[in-house]
Amino acid sequence: MPNMQQENALDFNLANSVHRHSLLDPARLAIACEGLELSYGELADRARRIAAALAQSPDWGDGESFRPRVGILASRSIDACTGLLGTSWAGGTYIPIGLKSPEARLIAILNQCRLSALICDGQGAKLLTERVLAACPPLVLRPEPGRHLARPSRRLDTHDLHDLPAVASTTPPARIKSTDLAYIIFTSGTTGLPKGVMVPTGAVRHYLEVVTNLLGLTANDRVLEVCELSFDFSVLDMFATWQAGASLHVLPANRIMNAVKFARENRLTVWNSVPSLVGMLNQIKALSPAVLPDLRLTVFGGEPLPASIVESWQQAAPNSAVQNLYGPTEVTVSCMSQPVTTPLLVTPQRNVVAIGSPFPGLEAAILTADRRCAPTDEPGELALAGAQLAQGYLDADELTEAKFPTISGKRWYLTGDLAYRDASGAFHHLGRIDNQIKVLGNRVELEEIDTHLRELSRAELVATVAWPVSDGGARGLIGFVAGSPMKTEHILSGLKLRLPAYSVPSKIIPIERMPLNHNGKVDRVALIRTLEVVGDSLRQWPEKNSTPLNQPVPQRQGL
C-alpha cells in the first residue's frame, strides 16, 4: 500500500487519511449531509475522479514548478468537501471562496488568484453569472451543467461534478513538499481589504498531529460541522475527523438553529463551533439541561469564550470535556489551547476563558513596543513562532514582511492581539490592539466595555465603537445592543457604576439585528457605516457624557 508508513516531509498530502481509510475500511461512514451518506470508499472515489479531471486539464502544469490553485465556490456540502479533497489529491492548493461574497468581490478574488480550475456546489453554481463566468478559469466543475449556467461560453470547459469518469480505486494522493501550499484562506481584515493567507502543507500536517493528540478523536466519534469552508476552523472539522477515521456530520447554514436537535438526532459525540453559536442557541431556548448527553468533547474557537457560555454549555452537555482553542489563520487554525477546568481559568478583565499555552512545537511571547519580552502580567502584543506559521499573504510582500518579522534570528507572526502571560505561565487575551482607544489620555478597551454591556443588557450580541471620529480623534463611544430586554437608561446607569466615566458610551442604541461578518463575528465596520448614515441626528442628541474626546484613534501600541 502506498504512502502509509513513509509520510515524511516530502510526501504528505491532506488527502492521505481519506485514502488510507478507503483502503483499510472502505465501508466506514466518512461524511453525512442532508440525508446523503458517503463511506470512506465513496468519498475517496469522488475525490479521485475530481483529481483526475483536474490533472488532465491543460492548465494544470507539471505540479513541480508551481502548485496549481483551485477555487472552491462551495461550503458546508459534500461537494465542498470532495472538491477540496480532490484538489489536494491532485497536488493542488485549494482556495475557499465565500458563498456570501458579492459579485464584485467574487470577480476580484477570481482575478487575483490565477486559478487553474473552479469547483462549485449547487449553491456556488448559482453565483456563476455572466460576469463571474468571464473571470472563471478555463475548467469549471459543478453539479448538473447547464441548469444554472447563465450563458455557456466556448472558452469554458465545464464538467458535471457528479458524472466524472471513473479511476482506479487505489490511486494515491500526489506527493507534495511540506513547503507547498495546502490552501489559501482569505481573512477579512478589520481595516479593509481581505488578505489571502498562504498556508503550507507542513504547517497543516503539524497542526493535525498536535490537535489529533490533544483531542483524542477515535474512529467511533461523530463530529459536527457547522463552519463555512472559508473559516479555517473547517480544517479542524474535516481533517481531524478523517485522520481518526471518524464521521463528519454537516449541518447547512440555513438550518443552523437546529444544531442541538441535529446533534441529538445524529448522536454526535464531538461539537466544534464558535462560542456565539451557543449564545444564539441559548437565546432561542434550544439548550435545556442535559439536552446533549452523548457529547463527550466540545471544541470552541474563533473568538473569546465567555465564562457564562461555558456555564450554560456544561448544563446542556454535562458529559462533555471542553477545550478553548486560540489561533489566527496565519498560524494554521489554532495554536494555543486551554482546557475548561474546575475552577475555571478566566481572564478577569473580560470574564473569558484564558487562551492557555502554545501547542508543542510552537512558541508564544508577549512583546513590548520595542519588541522585547514583556514581564509577567504586563500586556503587550502576542507573537507566535514555530512550525505552523503561514508563508505570508498572497501578493502582499510588504505586509508579509511587516507581520512576519525576523526577531533575533527567528521568524515570528505578530497577531495584533493584546495579551499577557500570568504568573502560572498561562496566556490571557485582552482584545485587538486596534480596539484600544485613547480617550482623554486614558486607555480604553472596546472589548472590556462590551463585557459589561453584555451583562447589563442581557443581550448576547453587543458592540462598542468609537464614534464620531474627526480629525483622527475619537469624539465619543457608542454602544449597540441587539435584542436586549433592558431599557437603555438602565444599561447606561449600570455602566456608569462599573466603568470610569471616559469608558462609558455616550449613547446605547438598541438594534433588532447585529451585523455579522462572514465568520459570524460582530461587524464593527458595518456599525460605524450605519452611524455615518444616521449620524447627524445622533450628533445633536444631548447626552451627559458627550465631552469631546480629542485623542487619536485607533491608538496602536508600539510596533
Binding site: 443552523i256 437546529n258 434550544a286
Partner: protein, 78 residues
C-alpha cells in the same frame, strides 16, 4: 383579533425589518429559505411566549416549528 391574523401581522413586521415584502403564503418557508435569521426567530419565541404561553423547555426547539405561518399555528394550538 384572530390569532392567525395577529401572528401574520407580527411576521409581516419582522419581514419588514429584514427588507422583505409583506406577501407570503401560509406554507412559505421564512427561516430555512434565508428570509429571516436567528434573531428574528428569537423575537418570534419571545412573542409566542408572551402572547400564547409557549413553553419551549417542555417541547424542545425545532427550527421547523417557526418556518411558516402554518407551522407556527400548529405550535401554539397543538
Amino acid at each position: 383579533m384572530d390569532n392567525r391574523i395577529k401572528i401574520k401581522i407580527f411576521l409581516q413586521e419582522l419581514l419588514a425589518d429584514y427588507d422583505a415584502g409583506p406577501d407570503f403564503g401560509d406554507d412559505d418557508s421564512l427561516v430555512t429559505s434565508g428570509l429571516l435569521d436567528s434573531q428574528a426567530v428569537l423575537r418570534m419565541v419571545v412573542f409566542l411566549e408572551e402572547e400564547y404561553g409557549l413553553d419551549l423547555a417542555e417541547r424542545g426547539f425545532d427550527q421547523n416549528d417557526f418556518d411558516s405561518l402554518t407551522n407556527i399555528m400548529r405550535l401554539i394550538s397543538p
